[in-house]
């Protein structure tokens, strides 16, 4: 049924309308997920409180306050930790909260429904794809308005927005109508088809960058999730997955040794990776690091959907770093010939995890979830780079009595959790309107990183004497917003303005 979800037959306007609705739906879903996560966290915290009273840990007396066994969890609890539902029925606080979460999170419905539709996941994946289309559509219409539309040879619906970023040069500016910098985005069918586009802009700092979003024709929705190697499994290249089942693990941090230990106990009710076949193993990453350094794997268990692992995976990591990390625990089926099938994952933001609390070290079951694929890497391109062409600048202020400045540009790419990367253009001597046509290349920038990065471009006047270089002006491009919103943005930067506020943020 999912495959029928095809918007081909709709007119562009209709598609936009539908995609807009889907987008709103996505917002609603995200809110809902947040709420449910909160509910579950509360439940978990309650659960961690231990099971020896089993709730308040109070010692139970031999005669007085002996406690009684809860119907739900078969633990002995004291009278204060019971919620009376009616005179002859009570539950312990945890069991009560558990049911409450189930109602509030709507799980009762999903459980019932799962009986009829085990493969619900596919819808979600499709929707993600459609979202990508949505951003593309939005940009197309925008570009068309500007009379700069590019031809899209393929119908958008079948295209996946995959690895995204490559900033390419464009701009040969010839007129001087206005002082502004136009940062526009554009899309190419693929890398080879990138074309240059002329920008009509003209600027104080005349930089036009183009973000080419690479689109690859998807191989449609396939029967399962493939993983030819880790890069591939991380790229989120998958189609239909019956994500189900749960995983039990515990996690603790050994402060003395600075070691994070994740003990993978077992899984249950896993989906079959292939027909009636399942050789599961667990793979762990400490996100955002997706490099092999961050990868840990368990052994592969053969022919079971309820594997027992009992393996401990360790990371040597500073405690202070944990807050920025997410633990991604995914379960995979190892088929023949490196054929991999994604069976589900759990992602835990470690910031919210209290490692000092002993109860947090207990084993717990987690529901496996489908992968969220909003941005994906292109499988064909192992490393990505950001290219920015600095065309030229105009009407730079003359600061020195001596005359024309000797301008050059510094491009500073700021990525999250990484040292900034600086590049410098050549210097043009005595030129108020330099035409550098210089290419900055920032290597190894993933689209995900780009989402959170920004690029400072500053123009400097190289001093002729020993004194330090003079700042002439600059601008900041928030690359994340460029990619996310895929909108054409204009920067109005007048030379005087630049001077007054050295770093203008768009």
């Amino acid at each position: 049924m999912a495959c029928e979800f095809n918007l081909n037959f709709l007119k562009q306007q209709e598609r936009e309308a539908v995609l807009e609705v889907l987008y709103r739906d996505q917002m609603v879903r995200e809110t809902e997920e947040k709420r449910i996560r909160k509910l579950k966290l509360q439940l978990q915290q309650l659960r961690w409180k231990g099971r020896s009273c089993a709730r308040c840990q109070k010692l139970l007396g031999l005669l007085m306050n002996r406690g009684a066994v809860c119907n739900g969890c078969s633990h002995r609890v004291c009278s204060e930790c019971r919620v009376c539902l009616n005179p002859c029925l009570w539950k312990c606080t945890v069991c009560y909260a558990h049911g409450d979460v189930k109602v509030k999170a709507g799980e009762w419905f999903f459980e019932e429904r799962a009986k009829k539709y085990p493969g619900e996941v596919i819808m979600e994946i499709l929707k993600q794809q459609i979202f990508c289309d949505f951003s593309l559509l939005a940009s197309i219409s925008h570009l068309q308005e500007l009379g700069q539309s590019k031809s899209f040879n393929k119908s958008m619906e079948n295209l996946f927005l995959s690895l995204t970023t490559h900033i390419k040069k464009i701009s040969k500016s010839q007129n001087d109508m206005a002082d502004r910098c136009l940062l526009s985005t554009d899309h190419g069918q693929n890398l080879e088809r990138r074309k240059q586009r002329r920008s009509q802009s003209d600027t104080a700092i005349n930089i036009t960058s183009r973000v080419s979003v690479i689109i690859t024709q998807s191989l449609a929705v396939r029967g399962s999730l493939y993983s030819l190697n880790s890069t591939c499994t991380e790229s989120g290249n998958f189609g239909k997955a019956n994500v189900m089942g749960e995983i039990e693990f515990a996690m603790r941090y050994i402060f003395k040794a600075c070691i994070l230990e994740i003990c993978i106990k077992r899984c249950k009710n896993l989906a079959y990776g292939e027909e009636k076949k399942c050789n599961p193993y667990v793979k762990v990453y400490l996100l955002p690091d997706k490099s092999p350094r961050s990868k840990r794997k368990t052994t592969v268990k053969k022919r079971t959907v309820d594997p027992e692992f009992d393996e401990t995976l360790k990371y040597k990591i500073e405690y202070s770093q944990l807050g920025s990390r997410q633990l991604q625990i995914s379960v995979w089926h190892a088929g023949a010939l490196k054929y991999r099938v994604f069976l589900g994952e759990v992602v835990i933001p470690l910031a919210a995890w209290d490692f000092q609390e002993d109860s947090m070290q207990l084993f717990s079951w987690y529901q496996l979830k489908p992968k969220v694929i909003l941005r994906r890497k292109d499988q064909g391109v192992p490393s990505c780079q950001l290219q920015v062409v600095i065309t030229g600048a105009k009407n730079l202020p003359v600061l020195r009595a001596a005359g024309m400045p000797n301008p050059f540009v510094i491009g500073c790419l700021i990525l999250p959790d990484q040292p900034e990367v600086k590049q410098k253009s050549p210097v043009w001597k005595k030129e108020a309107c330099p035409q550098w046509n210089h290419l900055f290349v920032f290597d190894g920038v993933t689209p995900a990183q780009l989402q959170q990065s920004c690029l400072h471009l500053t123009v400097w006047d190289q001093s002729t004497s020993s004194s330090s270089d003079q700042f002439l002006g600059g601008t900041t491009l928030v690359l994340g917003s460029v990619l996310t919103y895929v909108l054409v943005r204009k920067l109005a930067l007048k030379a005087e303005k630049v001077l007054r506020s050295p770093l203008l943020t768009e």
């Binding site: 999912a2 609705v21 709103r24 009570w90 069991c95 558990h98 009762w108």
Partner: protein, 220 residues
């Protein structure tokens, strides 16, 4: 994109997490029976006589207070036209409850009810709650489907039945509230088997206490 869209669609309503349950409801039925008007009347208390065909799907979010619980409703309005069927049916499985609507002044829309009901059976989960609603009951002069006929069909299909008017605001709120109630009942039931404590004992009585008797006829 995000910021622009959020403000346009009232971020407050959709991002508010302060509620207990979230129910998804789908309104289906032939083209031009008044699904969109019905939804607009309920969610915005507005009515426009002009007919604008819905493109594919749309939804509105409304949070209500019922049985001491804040319930967030995501109400999906679907296009009645056949050409959007692949899109609309994709949403059936996400819905906990359905409002199946026909137009009392349009025989054809009434005759199609059986088909719609089959669609629900095919695409939705097994316990989907359905209300049959005969809309436009303000247009008594043009009525071609009697209340009795509607009620009989509803009974035959095992749905509850309302006649309503989005234009004159008759039975609109009642329809939604009744649907919410029966979804709540279903929820309690489903938890009863697994977890009798939570809703079975606590909520069941409350629900039955406040249950509105099903409106069989409209006021006009």
């Amino acid at each position: 994109m995000a910021s622009a869209t959020d403000s346009r669609y009232g971020q407050k309503e959709s991002s508010d997490q302060n509620f207990d349950y979230m129910f998804k409801i789908l309104i289906i039925g032939n083209s031009s029976v008044g699904k969109t008007s019905f939804l607009f009347r309920y969610a915005d208390d507005s009515f426009t006589p002009a007919f604008v065909s819905t493109v594919g799907i749309d939804f509105k979010v409304k949070t209500i207070y019922r049985n001491d619980k804040r319930i967030k409703l995501q109400i999906w309005d679907t296009a009645g036209q056949e050409r959007y069927r692949t899109i609309t049916t994709a949403y059936y499985r996400g819905a906990m409850g359905f409002i199946l609507m026909y137009d009392i002044t349009n025989e054809e829309s009434f005759n199609a009810v059986q088909d719609w009901s089959t669609q629900i059976k095919t695409y939705s989960w097994d316990n989907a709650q359905v209300l049959l609603v005969g809309n436009k009951c303000d247009m008594e002069d043009e009525r071609v489907v009697s209340s009795e006929k509607g009620r009989q069909l509803a009974e035959h299909l095992g749905f509850e039945f309302f006649e309503a008017s989005a234009k004159d605001n008759i039975n609109v709120k009642q329809t939604f509230e009744r649907l919410v109630d029966i979804i709540c009942e279903k929820m309690s039931e489903s938890l009863d088997t697994a977890d009798p404590a939570v809703t079975g004992a606590k909520q069941g009585p409350q629900l039955t206490d406040q249950q509105a008797p099903p409106h069989q006829d409209c006021a006009c």
